[in-house]
Structure formats: structure tokens, C-alpha cells
Symmetry: C2
């Protein structure tokens, strides 16, 4: 019998090539252990509500009313919902043509795209055109669509930071393109260096790759650094000189835990650079409702903004978006609410402010506690989490641990993370899932466990780690370099 | 200056090749006219709520409560919500790990997948395994994922009915595969003939295409026919003999407007056929919350069930689903509600029954009124809409109309539909967007306008059509063949 079309040997080879460690071996093992009754702390994925973060009340009230519009005609609606939530629900329903049950325009509701444009205008002090903003089912779907517009085959390359969030490597593999890595410098707080960018592009071109785009993740995932304005200027000049589209993954723009480098968007820096760059560099910027202090991952809402993209291409992107009809409408409304939250003086403002600041201030403290915790462990060094939701400590594995992993047929940091999981229930992602320099090992953990639980989690981690190091260091002692 | 990577000439050629007429030229022109203040009747897309269909109350109450779980602790919740909706909301929240704001497992919530499996078991009288059911953001996304698993390049072919819903042709083009058309027979009520299937496969193989899968749409879109059990048996035997995966697009399974051929799933027919077919034929079946009497298009909920797919491939499909993290969670709950609606005796049952039957009975009447209306028009013949949501009349264009279209550089049915739109505001999709035999022309319209509006719409259509025919028929008269 010949193999069937959906037998493993027959399927699309690019599907088999794609790797996505965030839900890979470690996650699958954690899910098994959970089924067996073990308590698992899922810090593998930035999923705040799964770790107990409460949703912000106002947006949930508004979307609940949009789902149940008949409540708006009920004289008792005011018993359960504040007046400004009721008014907002009416506003968003007026932007739809048939409520949450009707497909919207494939680019998203025009009224919400207008609110996004106004938000970008306020944020950057440069105007933004709603016609160049497309709403998506989470930022990931937007990234995938843009990469599929750029990549036409194996010869097309995308510059991606290493370490990187594996959405990029996985999607490039699925699309049959080439990942062109540029290394972030751990000793310079995961800084981005244009010399390294030039080296990477030259080497790829020498190998026959047509390098077409560059990805930045700012704040960084998994690395947590915030790019400086000077760094962004360098990147944009580099893209201009090398004729690259810049993909700006800015989904963590609300998650900033230091004051030296506030978030600044690639779009603003580009506009500040003025002509010719501001009119020439092609830029796509991504945002989401999944991160920030919203953390509304399960809603699947996002947008991308296109800068300096010709109209014919914008139309092609619209056409492809149309094939799946429309992004889900309730998440579009979450996006509207995120970019246009309650204002001082609104009935719900005080509650909204209290809730959102509570989350943000706690994340800031958690970033500090976790970084300090990792740095107190034997053979572990960790840059401070300046932004985003992750710590990415380097684990300096003793040679005997590396040898043991080799014997077990595992990548060394996978072995470490598996043992950590079995011993403590802490579910992390090995650094190898994000890429790292040869012979160097990391893990990624979110900073999302409840603040009051973190000291115990870090104690448990330290106990495991220090025993692990003890076990694998040889008699002579393995000195920390 | 060389072209930039997102200039039209640089982008992925497959993106440019893909066509999706449902939101193509006609839709764009209709949107323009609407902006100019013209009243447009959007019958181009099966989007019931956009044409005034009211959502079913019970599922909206449940999902509203899931969005606002704090209401469940409010002593006044019973003022606005019935007790069974409250209980259901608690049930679904208990299936999540963090409510609607948390990513679910990438396959969807295990508890909802179990409800889907139970529904399939009740429907088909054969068991279904929740581990082989994956929830998706609408059925379209599921179809796209499965096609991307099958298609590895230009040599890989998919048998697709013509006329077909262009999700298939567009996705195959995007993925760089080959569409292998088989023609449905209009004079046999859009019947599917295995002789034609064999002809099509032979010809494709002769041309070097590796035909891997076959699509059926049952009930048909745009053609509205319901496949008989005998027809489905033939198709499954054909797939077995020719080593093809069958993709069963069954999103209209609730939309049946005659009693001779009730819906029967490909899965049930396959199981009825017994061994070896029931153990060998690879089948993927798709369903959605967008159609039926739910019409919850904007929520973006769907599932696919895999039959006879090896575990390694199921794992690969899981891995790829993981890259975009999870389908939106509120639509997963809609799916749970759709497959597990209120039962007799439940507080909300009477209302649910009244609402759903009201919609279904009205659609049945509308199918009849529209078919009869089309058949009363000059040079128009239309098969009865047995199921789904569309009428697909053949428009017998006079030679002079075809000539006029050629002069205008338009496909003849595009010209006809544009003129219809300008004259009446009725926004349809030309038959050429779905594929049709050479020299034969159609249009697709939904049967979704409000029942009370349909007579006027059909009068307006008839007036336009008959004048159009009058205008383009030559002096000698153009006889209806």
C-alpha cells in the first residue's frame, strides 16, 4: 500500500520543519503531569489570566453588553452595569452592521480602526491613517499574514533576532523561507548592534539569500530589553540602506519596568528621522490586546499598521484577509477599548485606573524579585527584565550535565528544564527554543505568577538549581566564569 | 532605485494569484455606493445578522456572563439572566483555566471538544474522539490549516467542485498547489457524478499532478444541493480507490429546506460502509457556528474532526495550531452551546426552540420564494435551494450582452452583476467567482434578506433583469433554449 496523503511521510515538509517550543516537549510533559494530579505552575507562556490575573472590569462590562444587546432595552440594566459601560456598548454596536454576530469588513470595523489611528496619533504625535490599520485575531495572525506576503520561497530571507520568540522561526519555516539570524548581545543587556546586523546580512547574501525584512521585538521576547531611541534610529537607517521592510513587534509596549528607556515606537522614530527615510522605509507595526495590563489573550485581538506600503500591496493584503472573512468582532471591540479607555471624570475611570495600575505596579515588582532571585542561584546570571513579561536567565551548565544530556539524547537546557519541571512543577521553556549562541544555555519563564507566590516559587527554583549544580559539578568544583 | 520588498512587483506571487470574489470587485463597488448614500442589500456573503437576523438569546446570555464573570457573584444577576444561563456560564468557565482572557489549549478547550464529540456521536450513532476534534476561528481557518498540511508544492492537487466556494481556490493558490476541478451537473440539480470525478483525476494525473485530496461541500455552496447517501458512498469509495483524503465541508448541515434528502454526514456514511473503508479512508469534516440558525459569523467559531489520521500527523497539526496559540475562547463556548443547546424542560428551552425554529422555517420559505422568483424571470433558470443559504440562478446572457462585456473588458456575468448593483442596490457575486462551465453564466445571492423584504427585492430584480434582456436581445428575439 502506498502511503496516504495525510500519513506523516506524505505531508508538507515545511510543516514538519516548523518548531514551536513554547508549546513543545516541556509544555506537553507539564500537561501530562497536571493530568496525573501534579500541581503545575505554567510559566511557559505569557498568559496572565491563566495565572490568576483578573480582567479589567470596564471592558468586560462593555463587551458583555455587546454580546447581549437585548439587555440594553431592559429597564433593569443599570442594576448590573454602569452608565458609561452602557453608553460604550451602544457606541460599539453602532459601529457594527449586525452586532457581534455579523462578519465585519475583513480589515476590521472602520470605527475601531479610527480609534486605533487616534491612539497612534496621540502616542507618536504623528497622524495615522485608519485605512492602513488592519485588525487581526491576535498579533500572531497579523505577523503570519505579513510574512506570507513577503516570502515567496526558500531564497527569501528574514532577519530575526536570536534569541527570538519562535512565532518568527516557525512561520518562516512553514512558509519555506530562510531565517537570517542576528545575535543580541547578552553582556550588553541584550543590545542590538548594527555591526552584527551587517555581518549577518552580508553572510546571508553571500549564501544567495535575498534578505527582505528585519524583525525587532521591542520590548524583547524572551529577552525583556527595551530598545533605546538611538538603537531604533540605527535599525531604521540600516533598513533604509539595505532595502529591508521593518517588522516592529511592539506587543509589550505597555509593559515597561524601568524609567530610563520608556517605550518609543518604530513609527515615531521613523517619522522623527524625516525625509527621505520617513517616506521610504517600509514598516509594519504590530500590537495586541493579549499583553499590557489587559492580558486578554483568549480574546484574540490585534492590529497592524502599515507605513510606506504602496496601495496595490495594501489591497493585496486586504484580499488575502478577506479569504478568512473577518477577525472576531468581540476582540475588535476589546481593541477599541484598549486604545480608548475610560478618561478622568468618567464614572468607571477610578476603577479602571486602580485596576490597571495595580497590575502594572505589581508586574514591575515581580520583574525585580524574579531577576534578583535568579541572580542569587548558583551558576545562573540574569539580565534585568526591563519590559515585556519574561525573565531569560543564563544557566551555566557544568560539563558533566552537558555530557549527561548528550547521553540521554536531549539538548542540555531541555534536560535541565525537564528536571526542574519534575522536581518543582515549574513549567518553563528551554533557551534552545528561542535560539542562543553555541554552548550557552538559558530558560524563559514569565514573571506572571501571583506576586505573593513568587518568593516560594523562586525558593523552590533555587533549591532545585543549586542541588542540580551540586550534583553535576565535578569534585574539583566548577568555577563560575 | 530597486523595488522595495513590499512593492507590488516584489511580493509573493501566490498572493497575487489568489482570487476571492465574495469580497471582490462587486463587494468593493457596493461598499463605495453605500458610502455615497445608496441603500445596498448585501446578499454577497452568508452573513445573517448583517441582514437583520436576531441572535438566539440563550447562547448570548451565557457568553455575556462568561465575559463578565463578576456578575455571577452579584446578588442581582437573576434580574437580567435566567438560572440555566447562569448555570451554563459557570459550567463553561469551569472548563477554562482563567476565563475568556486566557489562551486555551491550542486545540481548544478539552471540555468543549468533549461536548462536540458527544454531539457527533448522537448525530451519527458512531463514537467520536475529542482528541481528534480541534476547535478553530471559524471553519475557514480549519480548512486553511488542513490544506497547508496536505499541499507541499505546485505538483500537489486538490479536487474541488466547480462551482465552489472560493475559499478553496484561493487557499490552494496561496499555498502554491494545483486546483483540480470536477464539474457539478446543473441539469441534474448540481449532482456529483463519479464518471466526471474519474475524468478529472485521470486528466490531472496525465498532467503530472499528484492528486491528494477531494473537497465536497454538503449542502452545496454556492449550489445549494444536498448530497444523497448513495452519492456520498460513491465519493467515499472513489477516495478509497484513488487514495484521496476527503475534506467534508459540512458547515450548512443545519440548513436543510426539503425532506427527501436530510443531511447525512460523510463520517456516518463512511462508518456505515464498514471495513476496510471505515478504517482506511482519511476524512476531515468541518463545522461552524457561523451558519445554521445561529449565524454567529462574527464570533469566528468552528471545528474539524479527523478520521483515520495517524497520530504523528495529528501531532503535527497540533504543533502548527500552537504557533497562533489558541482559537478565540468565547467562540469556543458558542460551539459548546451549539452542540449542546437547551433541552426540553430547561427554563430557556421554549424560547430557544421558538427562536431557532422561527429562523429555520423562515429560511425554508425564503428558499422557495427566491427560487420561484428567479424562475419567473426572462432567461433565468434556477435549481431549488435544497440547503445552505444561497440561490445560484443561471443567467442566459444574450450574445450582444456578452459582446458588450467584452468591449468593456469585463467578464459577462461581472458586467451583469455590476449593472444589477447600480440599478437596484442588490449586491451579488458573479458566477465566474465560483467557477462555471465555459460560456455559461450565473450569480450567487444569499436567501438571507428579511422574509418580508424578499418580494420587493425579487420584483426589483425581475424588473432589472427583464429590461436588461430586452435591451440586449436582438430584433429577431433571443429564444430561451
Amino acid at each position: 500500500m502506498p502511503p496516504k496523503p495525510l500519513d506523516y511521510e506524505s505531508i508538507n515538509k515545511n510543516v514538519k520543519k516548523a518548531q514551536y517550543a513554547v508549546r513543545g516537549e516541556l509544555y506537553l510533559r507539564a500537561s501530562e503531569l497536571q493530568k496525573e494530579g501534579k500541581k503545575i505552575i505554567f510559566t511557559n507562556v505569557g498568559n496572565p489570566h491563566a495565572l490568576g490575573q483578573k480582567p479589567l472590569s470596564f471592558p468586560r462590562q462593555v463587551v458583555a453588553l455587546c454580546q447581549a444587546p437585548f439587555l440594553l432595552d431592559d429597564p433593569n440594566v443599570g442594576v448590573l452595569f454602569p452608565a458609561d459601560a452602557i453608553a460604550r456598548a451602544k457606541h460599539y454596536l453602532s459601529l457594527t452592521s449586525g452586532g457581534l454576530g455579523a462578519y465585519s469588513d475583513s480589515r476590521g470595523l472602520p470605527g475601531v480602526r479610527k480609534e486605533v489611528a487616534e491612539f497612534i496619533h496621540r502616542r507618536d504625535a504623528y497622524p495615522s491613517d485608519p485605512e492602513l490599520i488592519y485588525l487581526t485575531d491576535g498579533a500572531s495572525k497579523g505577523v503570519m499574514q505579513i510574512l506570507s506576503t513577503i516570502i515567496g520561497g526558500l531564497g527569501d530571507g528574514i532577519l530575526v533576532p536570536v534569541p527570538q520568540y519562535p512565532l518568527y522561526s516557525a512561520t518562516i519555516a512553514l512558509l519555506g523561507g530562510s531565517l537570517v539570524p542576528y545575535y543580541l548581545e547578552e553582556t550588553a543587556n541584550w543590545g542590538l548592534d548594527t555591526t552584527e546586523l551587517r555581518r549577518s546580512v552580508s553572510q546571508a547574501r553571500y549564501n544567495g539569500i535575498n534578505v527582505k525584512a528585519m524583525v525587532i521585538i521591542n520590548p524583547g521576547n524572551p529577552t525583556g530589553q527595551c530598545l533605546s531611541e538611538a538603537n531604533l534610529r540605527d535599525v531604521l537607517r540600516f533598513c533604509y540602506e539595505e532595502n529591508l521592510v521593518l517588522l516592529g513587534d511592539e506587543v509589550y509596549q505597555q509593559n515597561i519596568y524601568q524609567d530610563e528607556r520608556p517605550f518609543i515606537s518604530a513609527k515615531k522614530v521613523l517619522m522623527d528621522l524625516g525625509s527621505p527615510l520617513s517616506k521610504e522605509v517600509q514598516l509594519i507595526s504590530f500590537h495586541t490586546v493579549s499583553k499590557g495590563y489587559w492580558g486578554e489573550c483568549g480574546q484574540r485581538g490585534g492590529y497592524f499598521e502599515m507605513t510606506n506600503i504602496p496601495a496595490e500591496t495594501v489591497d493585496e493584503i486586504y484580499k488575502v484577509a478577506s479569504i478568512a472573512l473577518s477577525p472576531n468582532v468581540s476582540a475588535q471591540i476589546f481593541m477599541g477599548l484598549m486604545v480608548n479607555p475610560p478618561k478622568p471624570g468618567d464614572i468607571s475611570y477610578d476603577q479602571y485606573f486602580r485596576e490597571s495600575q495595580g497590575i502594572l505596579q505589581s508586574l514591575r515588582r515581580r520583574a525585580r524579585i524574579m531577576t534578583d532571585g535568579f541572580n542569587s542561584c548558583r551558576n545562573v546570571v540574569c539580565n534585568f527584565t526591563e519590559g515585556a513579561m519574561y525573565s531569560f536567565p543564563q544557566i551555566r551548565l557544568p560539563p558533566r550535565a552537558i555530557e549527561a544530556a548528550k547521553q540521554a539524547g536531549k539538548v542540555p537546557d531541555v534536560l535541565y528544564c525537564l528536571k526542574l519541571l519534575e522536581a518543582t512543577g515549574i513549567s518553563t521553556v528551554p533557551g534552545s527554543g528561542f535560539g542562543q549562541k553555541e554552548g550557552v544555555f538559558h530558560l524563559r519563564t514569565t514573571i506572571l505568577p501571583a506576586e505573593e507566590d513568587i518568593p516560594a516559587i523562586m525558593d523552590s527554583f533555587k533549591k532545585f538549581n543549586d542541588e542540580f549544580m551540586e550534583q553535576y559539578e565535578d569534585q574539583r568544583g566548577y568555577s563560575r566564569i
